[in-house]
Symmetry: C2
Subunit: 129 residues, 2 copies
């Protein structure tokens, strides 16, 4: 079916699609079930990201109080090696794990710099700090 | 202490730093404890990302078999609204949640296109599919 995918840019996968094309009903039902699992996984990840940024915000306060810089390259090297290993064990493309690491570390460092600029006050990160 | 952070680019936070600057020992110990929690959170997130990409890989196979396009903008609108709401409830900056969503959805769509181009074979995503 790969030939067909070149011809259009998007598909809305829902009951209307299944009703219009009965031959697609099984695929629509399967995708719907998988999407519920994906949504549940996202809920868990968002909760964990909230906890992660609370922890890195506290790190930012401690760094600012001691006058430490936002960047710690030795820590980053450790994280790169560790996340690569965990990803392979979990069956995740390590490239995805590295993109995840870059994303969270970059955002955490930006927030550390903002905390330091505010004299160590995490309140600068607004109510979501 | 914010004035001081402008003068250097990075700090290695470890026992050597604590030994050289006893006044920083408490901050170093606090950061070390927080980093262990951050590592544990990362382990959980990597495991969940592995499961998420397994699920989206299956979605990709079903999409390719039915000739559906990788993109489904209605689904994306739903995810944007949902993740924003969950982030606020969890105390996470919704901007971070949106960056997370863009990251995983972009990568999932790239993989869907590769599966479709391979005629519905998820094996194209190598052993980490």
């Amino acid at each position: 079916m790969s030939e067909e995918t070149g011809g259009w840019q998007r598909t809305t996968i829902d009951e209307a699609e299944a009703a219009a094309h009965p031959e697609h009903a099984a695929a629509v039902a399967g995708i719907k079930a998988l999407r519920q699992s994906i949504d549940n996984i996202d809920s868990a990840i968002i909760a964990l990201l909230a906890e992660r940024f609370k922890a890195t915000s506290q790190v930012g306060v401690l760094k600012a109080s001691a006058g430490f810089a936002p960047e710690d390259t030795k820590r980053e090297d450790y994280q790169i090696e560790r996340l690569h290993r965990i990803a392979v064990d979990a069956g995740l493309d390590p490239e995805i794990a590295e993109m995840y690491r870059e994303f969270v570390v970059t955002e955490a460092k930006k927030r550390h710099a903002r905390i330091a600029d505010a004299g160590g006050d995490p309140g600068v990160l607004d109510i979501f700090a």
